[in-house]
């Protein structure tokens, strides 16, 4: 009976701790991708300013509400605009930014490929 009780306690407590740990990992991930708008070159995660601390509380409560990472980013995007995100969203303003490295990569690849082909 004692063993059964112990098993039940572990069975119910362990998922709670595991969930909290997962939320903490997610919170850190999100706050690392949010720019502290009143600090110079710091993320919300790194900053200890009043603004960053409030943002951390909001991220926490949004995770508790069950919002996904993407939904939390779009919430902050709606409040503060694109600048708050370190990782810019893929939209018409950033197509060029995202696609330019790929374009350069393919062009470079083509040049190298042609040169090698010529030599052989």
């Amino acid at each position: 009976m004692k063993i059964l009780k112990l098993f039940l306690i572990i069975f119910f407590i362990f998922p709670v701790y595991s969930l909290k740990a997962n939320n903490e990992i997610l919170k850190n991930k999100i706050t690392k991708n949010l720019r502290c708008l009143i600090c110079q070159g710091q993320s919300v995660y790194d900053s200890d300013s009043e603004f960053a601390n409030s943002l951390k509380i909001v991220v926490d409560s949004k995770i508790d509400e069950g919002l996904s990472e993407k939904q939390i980013y779009s919430y902050f995007h709606s409040k503060y605009g694109e600048w708050i995100l370190y990782d810019p969203l893929f939209n018409k303003n950033t197509y060029f930014l995202w696609l330019l490295p790929l374009l350069i990569f393919f062009l470079g690849g083509t040049i190298i490929f042609k040169k090698i082909n010529k030599k052989t």
Binding site: E50, F51, S54, I57, K79, W83, L107
Partner: protein
């Protein structure tokens, strides 16, 4: 033809990159906050300063009058600087001022209002600074002019004599 196309496209790419970087150099690297206006008042539950009652923000801004939401704190020096402007604005019947008391203690906030006067029709108590985030605020002081549940003007930093004139023109 093929041999000519390749150097041409390389030069074109370099020119494009040069223009982008050149334009980037001319932009200021000091961040200027985005003053987004004409968006709806956030609908959130807030705690009232006097009664500790929890209400929805939409219940506060429920008339067609103009509202000025002012984020303030007793520890904020620029808030003292702008306080006489708020005291001047409250004389207008067309305008109601709603304060958001930001990361403050009720005791200090009451002392502040006793010393400088209370221009606020209602005060929201924002102990953790999370209500200010809902408004898209950066800190204290900050003010939002509202009409028909829409934010029509945002003032970052203390209100000046120029902003006072502008608000008076809006609410005329």
């Amino acid at each position: 033809m093929k041999n000519k196309l390749l150097p041409f496209s390389i030069v074109l790419i370099f020119i494009t990159i040069f223009i982008i970087f050149y334009k980037g150099l001319q932009d200021t690297n000091i961040y200027t906050p985005e003053v987004k206006t004409n968006y709806e008042v956030p609908s959130v539950s807030v705690e009232l300063f006097d009664s500790s009652e929890i209400v929805n923000t939409l219940e506060i801004f429920n008339t067609d009058k103009f509202y000025l939401v002012n984020i303030w704190s007793s520890w904020c020096v620029p808030c003292r600087q702008e306080h006489p402007i708020l005291m001047d604005l409250i004389k207008n019947d067309n305008l109601k001022i709603v304060g958001i008391n930001y990361k403050d203690t009720k005791k200090n906030a009451k002392k502040f209002l006793e010393a400088l006067g209370n221009p606020y029709n209602k005060i929201i108590f924002d102990n953790e600074g999370t209500d200010a985030i809902e408004w898209g605020a950066y800190g204290v002081p900050e003010s939002f002019l509202i009409n028909k549940n829409k934010i029509i003007k945002k003032y970052i930093g203390p209100l000046s004599k120029e902003s006072l004139k502008e608000i008076k023109l809006f609410i005329k």
